[in-house]
Symmetry: C2
Subunit: 502 residues, 2 copies
């Protein structure tokens, strides 16, 4: 191996080790840490974060990247080596272009704003946090201005969805919204689905065992991961062979634990499927928040909430909960887990309305950055958009503009698009898999997921961060990113569920 590449890898290995250790500290904080361990834990994570940053942003890396330029040109763009050099260069720029002093200031401001937001939301008082949010907007703009850009939001979007831009996202999301608003209207005009089947008492341990059974059938290996309980479900990775998920349980709602677990399983399968050749480098991970979300949503929704899947599992679920489910048919259950309603809260939203919540936030944050709208008008603009898009709006700001942590605990801009990009891509990927392997649908109704899982591994997971989302979509599906398959999927699913024609 080239000696400079070897030197580069040696540093990257150490940085990866430190980052993974830091992730374990975070996992423990959310799962098992005793309450009074919190203060020391925050310090320890800060120290490891600083160490990893120091190592990664050192001049040594810049020199090595410079020396590696000729090698990179000689190598195939798709090769692991060229990809490592390319992605390291991008990450290095991101890590070094913003002055440490600015980052520290912004981070301190974000922490203070987060604390204020907790009170503001509890007291339903947007004014309490409005001045801070004004400063957050200013910091976000300054952050973006450290990077060349076409639109002020682009560098912020690039942090989690590399190479995505407002010029791509605006028409994509506008297109989706135009289709979704009437779709939601048509569905909510029908008799609401009866979800009483899932709104009964279901014992925690049985719920967890059932969720884990499906996750394992999907291909989640207990030798390479585990499921724990946390307040908010998440997936976290400490190595390609140690990717863990967490969930929460509501004993009065069967859907919470099962679908959260399948969502996180999707994220985990992505990370577990990265080629071992990329191990211990910054290529060993999902490539963007959008592609990541495409996998969580695919396994949670396209597969997890499909009738095919429950043809196999519903009789088993009835065996586990005979008293609760004996009077409900598969059809009843299928309708219950896919119930649509006008909703105020993004995180509680069903599959159909979910993207409207995201697009509202994307539009508002982009307008804020452009200066088209003002922070002080945010609560009213929020209500107006909810009324227009979802036909409902919150009287309180707590359930309105104050509901999500994102803007109050970090930057404004670039923090929401991944959710909807994920949904859009999930259908593109699933359609491509079905086109290549038509047996997948049949197999799902027999709880066989290998063909689908292998297709996803070969076409998406194995590459890790080698390619951008757009590149992965092109390679895996042969097409550019498009909302058509996703809209078609939703129309077909909800036409059947609510017995309507679109």
């Amino acid at each position: 191996m080239d000696k400079n590449l070897k030197k580069l890898k040696k540093i990257l290995y150490e940085v990866d080790d430190i980052n993974n250790a830091s992730s374990l500290l975070g996992w423990d904080q959310a799962t098992y840490m005793p309450a009074k361990g919190a203060e020391a834990r925050a310090r320890q994570m800060a120290t490891l974060g600083k160490l990893a940053h120091q190592k990664f942003s050192s001049k040594k890396i810049a020199k090595l990247l410079k020396k590696l330029e000729p090698l990179e040109k000689d190598l195939d763009y798709n090769s692991n080596e060229a990809s490592l050099i390319r992605v390291t260069r991008k990450d290095y720029e991101k890590a070094t272009k913003v002055p440490a002093k600015f980052l520290e200031e912004f981070s301190n401001h974000a922490s203070a704003t987060y604390q204020l937001w907790i009170q503001a939301r509890a007291q339903d008082n947007f004014d309490m946090v409005a001045d801070n949010l004004e400063k957050t907007l200013d910091y976000s703009r300054r952050m973006a201005n450290y990077f060349p850009h076409e639109h002020i939001a682009d560098p912020l979007i690039d942090n989690s969805d590399e190479a995505m831009t407002v010029s791509v996202l605006r028409p994509l999301f506008a297109d989706l919204r135009k289709e979704l608003v009437p779709l939601v209207e048509a569905v909510v005009a029908q008799e609401p689905a009866d979800d009483s089947a899932v709104k009964q008492f279901f014992l925690q341990d049985k719920q967890l065992d059932f969720a884990m059974m499906i996750a394992q059938d999907y291909g989640y290996d207990k030798k390479r991961g585990r499921l724990d309980l946390t307040h908010h479900p998440f997936m976290t990775k400490f190595a390609i062979d140690d990717v863990r998920i967490t969930t929460r349980v509501n004993q009065n709602d069967l859907t919470d634990a099962i679908f959260s677990s399948l969502h996180e399983t999707g994220h985990a399968l992505y990370e577990l499927g990265v080629s071992h050749d990329l191990d211990r480098t910054l290529l060993a991970g999902g490539t963007s928040s959008g592609v990541h979300e495409s996998q969580s949503r695919l396994w949670e929704n396209q597969i997890g909430r499909s009738k095919d899947l429950w043809q196999y599992y519903y009789p088993k679920l009835q065996e586990v909960f005979p008293e609760q489910l004996k009077d409900y048919s598969l059809e009843d259950y299928y309708k219950a887990i896919n119930k649509v309603s006008r909703s105020l809260i993004r995180t509680d939203a069903d599959e159909l309305t979910y993207n409207l919540h995201v697009i509202i936030r994307f539009d508002l944050e982009t307008d804020l950055l452009e200066g088209k709208i003002a922070i002080k008008d945010l609560p009213e603009l929020w209500r107006a958009r909810y009324q227009a898009d979802l036909g409902v709006s919150s009287e309180t700001d707590a359930d309105g503009v104050l509901q999500d942590v994102h803007w109050y605990g970090g930057q404004i801009g670039g923090v929401f698009q991944g959710y909807t990009l994920g949904n859009i891509m999930s259908s593109q990927f699933y359609n491509a898999a079905l086109a290549a392997k038509p047996q997948i649908k049949d197999e799902i109704s027999q709880a066989k997921f290998d063909t689908l899982h292998n297709w996803l591994k070969e076409n998406i997971y194995t590459h890790g961060r080698k390619f951008t989302a757009a590149e992965v979509v092109k390679m895996a599906t042969g097409k550019e990113m498009t909302t058509k398959p996703y809209i078609a999927y939703l129309k077909e699913k909800y036409a059947d569920l609510y017995d309507i024609k679109f």
Copy 2:
């Protein structure tokens, strides 16, 4: 604060953060890590270990220590500041006097020997590992020779029991052995105790709950710690306010989980009792393996296996296990948990015979280092000493010289004395506490432990690593280290239990 001291502390804080993160990685490895995470975990721990070592052994520390010399002279020896400088200097010497290359070689050799030992023990074949052990002896001598010493074992002992030497330990242990051998002979000549009370089926969760109840009554706070299951019980610390313990459970022996848990609780109370003023520095921990063991043994044995304590808890234990214990009296149970027998295995040995196992090992490793005895004769020498001291000897080497990992996974010398030093000191400390607060014994029979716990905190725990074991004993008890209180304690306890006179 002095600016050099401030600089020193800043580095020590970072080192402490890294070491604590590394400890969490170790805890997770033993508790929850999925099997295939092992390889990456070993790498991550190696990286953090290297980082901490680099930071701590840097020339910067040497320079700061030099600059701090005048300040140290001005300060009270007992002050936190003087102690920090003093102990940092000692640790720095230990970290820098041995060349990194030598340490790496030794560590690689120890890893290889450990792997070989696993096979040798399984096949009951000492010869398989004898050559490696010969090299280990050579490495151990070379390690010791990097430091000035009176006896070749002293620098090795100093690593875990600072300032202890062979010239102190030999007479201390010889004295103890002279008393113990006839004591054990007299006890095992009696009718063996009936331990059928504790050798029944006891459900795991109930055992754990009971152990945790006593631990909490002792003063172990669930907001500052937790109990998990591992193959080998241990205590580990991530911060003064996050000190965790683990245990194992044998559902067919009630004593395993309870007394292992109380043992680890003793270690934990020590770490939790260190003054918060020492937080995040290398003073925030127990001062030596001996003093640490004195606390685990005190809470496990002097308190945990006392009749006073079970007067309170035995009726509660009978409530939890009514079927198993209804026909056994407190007296029956007390005898069962204190049963003495001639034993081959150190880790299974009872309180009375335990120290003979340790002293055999201490004598053999010290003789090996001196060159008085040879590796090849070890199996026979082991048998002879067991026959002489415990009246029993193993036919196999697996249950003889191959039973403990210590020599096969590390150095020969300085690895066993702490266990017996702990027992000796536990009685000295307990007697001093009783002399100062005579109400302690009465309180124990009411499950009140505050007076004892507070005395131990004030006289031992709060100091962390500020003082050596000998200094702590002198300060807490007003006397030098002596075996008298420990021998008196054993004689009184076992005379009563076995109804004999000594």
